[in-house]
């Protein structure tokens, strides 16, 4: 699909559930909090849109879904979705979500947060939740920087990117998030860009319906900071860049998918495997060890 086709399809999808002339997202958004804080052509809104569409397509009652965010521009997602939502502390959305999910396993618990939040300050929680295979979906909006605090370098900033704390260019090596997620045990790993609205929606559907720690990385424009400082133009220019530089390679070994500042961007579904979740393991293991003395845990 070309950029224009993707955008046309997006416009086509813009009718609200009741079919009347209201805002297409009003069933899903806290309209009393709109306008939101995000900059024009910021990629975060696209992700929220696709997430809403994914939930709608799955048909899950929204009362059964909870969104947990950390702190950052992306962290504000929790504040706009009209479902039970938690805006927690910087880096700690995943352990909060772990407690929420284990407290009531019937809930569909989704973490939506930024790259800095999830894998810089929150990296320890990310790796352990994946290792344990806690049954949550993590959607990471990767804009390659700490946007909310004004554009500092993050653990995801490509080498050579110019940010306020890497004024002469970043000399560190960034994380390759799909590789990280796979190596610590995620059952589903996909990467798309904000341009790929259908594919990211499908990836979210896959991730939300698959048991275990599922991970979707969305590369998203931050026109105000990352794109401006690194001369990628505005958000639409960056989408165009994604269009020209993305290469879909399903099943590509994640070791090969790192993103440089001006390299091609490999997108696709990289991992889709089955592993028992933390709770399944707990219940089956303790049943085996304790027999009738064990009280199975269902929440």
């Amino acid at each position: 699909m070309s950029v224009t086709d993707e955008l046309k399809a997006a416009v086509q999808a813009q009718t609200n559930k009741s079919g009347d002339a209201g805002h297409p997202m009003e069933d899903f958004l806290r309209m009393d909090r709109i306008p939101h804080i995000w900059c024009p052509t910021c990629g975060i809104g696209v992700v929220v849109n696709c997430f809403a569409r994914a939930l709608e397509k799955i048909g899950i009652p929204l009362d059964d879904v909870a969104v947990v965010s950390g702190i950052g521009c992306t962290g504000r997602v929790a504040g706009y979705v009209k479902i039970d939502s938690f805006h927690t502390t910087h880096g700690r959305a995943i352990p909060f979500a772990t407690g929420l999910k284990l407290g009531n396993p019937k809930l569909k618990v989704v973490v939506i947060s930024g790259d800095g939040d999830l894998v810089s300050i929150g990296g320890n929680h990310f790796v352990h939740a994946a290792r344990r295979n806690v049954d949550i979906t993590v959607i990471c909006v990767n804009n390659f920087n700490y946007a909310m605090t004004g554009g500092q370098m993050a653990a995801t900033s490509p080498t050579d990117s110019i940010l306020t704390t890497s004024p002469y260019g970043n000399f560190e090596t960034p994380f390759n998030l799909p590789f990280l997620a796979e190596s610590v045990g995620a059952t589903y790993v996909a990467r798309w860009t904000a341009l790929h609205i259908h594919r990211q929606t499908e990836a979210m559907i896959d991730a939300l319906t698959k048991p275990g720690f599922t991970f979707v990385e969305i590369l998203a424009p931050c026109p105000t900071i990352f794109e401006r400082r690194n001369k990628f133009g505005d958000g639409l220019d960056r989408l165009n860049y994604y269009y020209e530089h993305s290469e879909i390679k399903h099943g590509e070994p994640t070791a090969n998918v790192d993103v440089g500042l001006r390299t091609k961007i490999i997108v696709g579904k990289f991992v889709d495997k089955d592993r028992p979740t933390w709770l399944d393991s707990m219940n089956s293991h303790l049943k085996r060890k304790l027999g009738d003395r064990f009280t199975p845990y269902e929440g």
Partner: protein, 387 residues
């Protein structure tokens, strides 16, 4: 409501304070612990890990205390009674999430089995040096409630109170044990479940759309709901309005943060808890809490034997602080001795409330062991002389 018999190990047992604390939590209805091992608190989670599969619930050992101190809050919003357990260094790591629990009015319990500090300090030896940290350790203004048990029996009994109080005020409760109480083994008598009173979470009866998760109700405390009930709430650590929506302005700060401070300060008379003996005719009153209270009792008896009229005030709930009672004692001209296992923490509160009317003397101790009785006696004598 009465306790769920599944969690109540009725009978007489020989338990150390850590194990008794765990049994108290189970009796109180705690069905979720997220923890991280640290001496001298580890036995609490070890016992929970072995008991909870039978009672029904979850123990999860998290990757660090940052995680363990927020996972329990997720479990609370899912409808569980939950706690976390730690000691000195772990307590330091938990500070940001104590603030989150205070700000979001998340009813839960933080157990701190205190050891000597700062830093790694004395991992296997007692102190009471985290008392101010328990009260002020997170950034910003807020109030918590802190209890201090002095025996395994009290670890059991007060744990139930800790959970009940956290629900009543929608506040994180600090359960301030110490290594000595945590590891001493004594008889613990656990009553029948129907003898244990449990405060249920105050869930709203309002329908979705009408319920506001941060609108003060009875006692300035908002009603609760849980995720999945259809209220579609938003909870944030940002300053927020009644709906829970971010509201970053001085008025909202006064409304929300002012209220989480006032709901404890203005109701402190209902919350404070202390015991006294021999205070009536006393010229000197020794104030203490936790393990030090037990040493101080010996000191008070020894000083009485020497002919000094001395009484004892023992703080059960240390925060909020019984300001009025201390002021009264000072008003009556009773010299005050504060005995605690630190170089002066709660002492400053006593001194503040005495307003210079009587001598206030610190019987401090850096920890590692408990006080010598004679040392407290010498401080009683000092107070008596400069009265």
């Amino acid at each position: 409501m009465k306790a769920d018999p599944k969690g109540v190990m009725t009978g007489a047992h020989y338990l150390d304070g850590d194990h008794a604390c765990c049994e108290g939590a189970l009796a109180a209805g705690c069905r979720f612990i997220s923890g991280y091992p640290i001496t001298p608190s580890t036995e609490v989670v070890e016992r929970f890990a072995s008991r909870i599969p039978i009672v029904g619930g979850v123990f999860i050992q998290m990757e660090d205390e940052l995680a363990s101190s927020i996972a329990l809050q997720g479990a609370v919003w899912a409808g569980k009674k939950a706690m976390t357990v730690t000691s000195g260094p772990g307590f330091s790591l938990m500070m940001e999430h104590i603030g989150l629990a205070a700000m979001t009015e998340c009813p839960c319990v933080f157990v701190n089995v205190q050891r000597g500090g700062p830093s790694t300090g004395l991992p296997t030896q007692p102190a009471q040096a985290d008392m101010m940290q328990a009260r002020w350790g997170s950034h910003g203004d807020y109030e918590i409630i802190a209890l201090s048990p002095s025996s395994p029996q009290e670890c059991f009994d007060f744990m139930i109170d800790a959970f009940n109080i956290s629900e009543k005020y929608r506040v994180p409760v600090m359960f301030m044990m110490d290594e000595c109480v945590g590891h001493m083994i004594e008889r613990v008598s656990i009553p029948e479940a129907d003898q244990i009173e449990i405060t249920e979470r105050n869930y709203t009866k309002l329908p979705p759309g009408e319920y506001l998760p941060f609108k003060p109700a009875e006692n300035m405390v908002p009603e609760m709901c849980k995720v999945g009930d259809g209220h579609r709430i938003h909870v944030t650590g940002l300053t927020h309005d009644y709906r829970g929506y971010p509201a970053m302005n001085p008025e909202a700060q006064e409304e929300q943060v002012g209220r989480i401070v006032r709901k404890i300060r203005d109701q402190a008379d209902d919350i404070v808890r202390y015991e006294e003996f021999d205070v009536e005719d006393a010229d000197v009153v020794v104030i203490s809490y936790g393990i030090t209270h037990r040493v101080a009792v010996q000191a008070v008896r020894a000083a009485r034997d020497k002919g000094i009229k001395v009484g004892m005030m023992r703080l059960i709930i240390v925060w909020p602080f019984p300001e009025k009672r201390i002021a009264e004692l000072a008003e009556q001209g009773k010299a005050l001795v504060m005995a605690e296992l630190n170089y002066g923490q709660v002492f400053f509160e006593v001194d503040r409330c005495a307003k210079g009317k009587v001598p206030v003397i610190l019987a401090g101790h850096g920890g590692g062991t408990v006080h010598e009785t004679d040392y407290i006696v010498s401080k009683i004598e000092e107070a008596y002389q400069c009265r």
